[in-house]
Subunit: 343 residues, 2 copies
């Protein structure tokens, strides 16, 4: 079983996943390691190469764990965290540790090996989005989990080890540090203004206008004022709502169209660049309201969004040492190029 360890100086949890341990000579240090079609466990017909499915979109008369599906969710074969057990928190001198419990699922987005989201029909993207929503909502019901992170690594340089389009969900028994930082900032702002900080930022982006990439009645995509990465884009609903797991089904088509549009623009402009998607949904407030005042204001001060992070620059010593990033492309310029690519 893996282990969670806490570093009190950097206030950071780390997952020590010893079952995934590689021997020193097995570490991969090049950028070209995704698999081909011939040995793909995610392709239709290879369903027995994965653990049994947790959820699926398969029209009748298909059978469980057989072909004929459109979207399929399975446990990760090499999970970073294991689903059974209790955390068993304890101290180790000045450090903290707990058992590596959590969930680690894989959403296989399509039966086709090379059909990345931007190339899927919108109706199919809607199925992927509705499965994302369903899995986030389901994992949030487990009171051991404090955060449910949905993310996607597309391309080897974005961290994907398998090429077949898939996303992942990790549910963790601690609130991640990045989320804690946002919780605190959102709480402080709400206390002062009685408004949601992210919603205020979104309103400012809409008012300024020159960093907007996509706008509809329901969704807005923009390159944030303080983008860490070139062409970083945030996609958010116009209306403040904290929990992606409770996304109004009426918004699924609009979100899917916006996601496909933004990814199509990025991929057209940047030659199928690798990217990460990271969903910022609210932490699991009902499991620890007693632990922090941050949760008092939560349903009102959190605004979920999806971060789209193209991987064009390499993170080096400066970024690891300081936590701030050097971005060579002003977001105003990135947004203009993304707006103009299809015009």
């Amino acid at each position: 079983m893996s282990e969670l360890r806490h570093d009190p100086l950097n206030k950071r949890w780390v997952i020590i996943a010893s079952e995934r341990a590689e021997r020193p000579q097995e570490f991969v240090v090049d950028g070209s390691t995704t698999n081909g079609l011939e040995d793909c466990p995610f392709c239709e017909g290879n369903e027995d190469a994965t653990p049994p499915e947790i959820a699926v979109r398969r029209p009748p008369p298909g059978l469980p764990n057989g072909p004929g599906w459109r979207v399929r969710v399975v446990p990760n074969r090499y999970p970073a965290l294991a689903i059974e057990g209790l955390p068993e928190r304890r101290g180790v001198g000045l450090y903290d540790r707990m058992r590596g419990i959590g969930a680690h699922e894989v959403i296989i987005e399509t039966p086709e090996h090379a059909l990345e989201i931007s190339r899927q029909p919108v109706a199919h993207v809607e199925e992927v989005v509705s499965v994302w929503k369903e899995r986030v909502a389901d994992l949030m019901r487990d009171r051991r989990f404090k955060y449910v992170l949905l993310f996607k690594n597309e391309g080897a340089l974005a961290g994907a080890s398998l090429a077949h389009p898939h996303s992942q969900i990790v549910a963790t028994p601690v609130t991640p540090r990045e989320i804690a930082v946002q919780l605190e900032a959102s709480y402080t702002h709400f206390r002062a203004k009685e408004r949601c900080l992210f919603t205020d930022l979104l309103d400012q982006e809409i008012a300024e206008g020159h960093r907007i990439v996509h706008e509809s009645d329901e969704f807005v995509a923009f390159c944030p004022y303080a983008s860490r990465f070139p062409f970083e884009t945030v996609l958010a609903p116009r209306r403040q709502t904290h929990d992606f797991g409770r996304l109004d089904p009426k918004l699924v088509p609009g979100f899917s169209r916006a996601l496909k549009d933004v990814l199509s623009r990025l991929r057209a402009l940047l030659r199928d660049c690798p990217y990460n998607l990271v969903l910022h949904t609210a932490p699991n407030a009902h499991v620890e309201p007693h632990r922090s005042h941050w949760f008092e204001t939560l349903p009102h001060d959190w605004h979920w969004y999806l971060a789209i992070l193209p991987r064009l620059t390499r993170v080096a010593g400066f970024e690891w040492g300081t936590g701030f990033h050097i971005n060579p492309t002003p977001p105003e310029e990135a947004a203009r190029l993304l707006r103009e690519v299809f015009s």
Copy 2:
């Protein structure tokens, strides 16, 4: 001129370095981009390919900016931050911005194109270390700078664009977020215990023993309990002292031997793997004691150290989304392999 921008939700500064702007098609997304010997601006004889030197170790009768040097410091030709001017902080709605002032220097560690630190004689490493110390101390005198970060990117996958051994120093007009986190944790611990948090962690590592890689009377290297990366190693003086710029000259030989030893072990075990070095020295306390109570305890609650970060795993969506890392190699195992590699 570049610009510093602050994101209030993530409490993060970003450098938007528009002079370094690349056109979308120019982004490099593969892992093999360091230069060869034929066009190296850092090799001896090519001194006119860099801006004029700031500091140098050159025995007589050599002339400034000519050959015959052993270590050479020059301004970065493409600086992330510019040395002239004042920050001119101002608000942009909810965001903050300031002009991108700071320093960005390159330390060319040797005239030889392929002589990485672990392969240099100890006497030469001592010269590199004494130049590091001298530059950190000099930049700390500039009251516009709140932090001086010394780091090294070795190998293309660690972010190096030039292969010739070199390190870099960036002085910034803001306290980086990672340093602010450490300041706050160190302050809180000192207030409770009247002891330095890092020194306490170091004592615990020494007492437990099984994560130690190198020990001498003066320095200790260990793989931290909550290592983010496989084979991550911290090298620190035994005695608490906060400012690397005031390193006792008597400690330079011991530090140089320890650094060479640890890097030699890493490179032997992991086949010349790429790595980052990041120096954690104290922030520039005298420039902002009025701004934060964190600085009240600073000379006593900060313990400088050098982080050695091999780049064997790829950072993906999970890490960007949460700030916590999945490390497949327990540090106990990493330290054992590093201890045994030369036995």
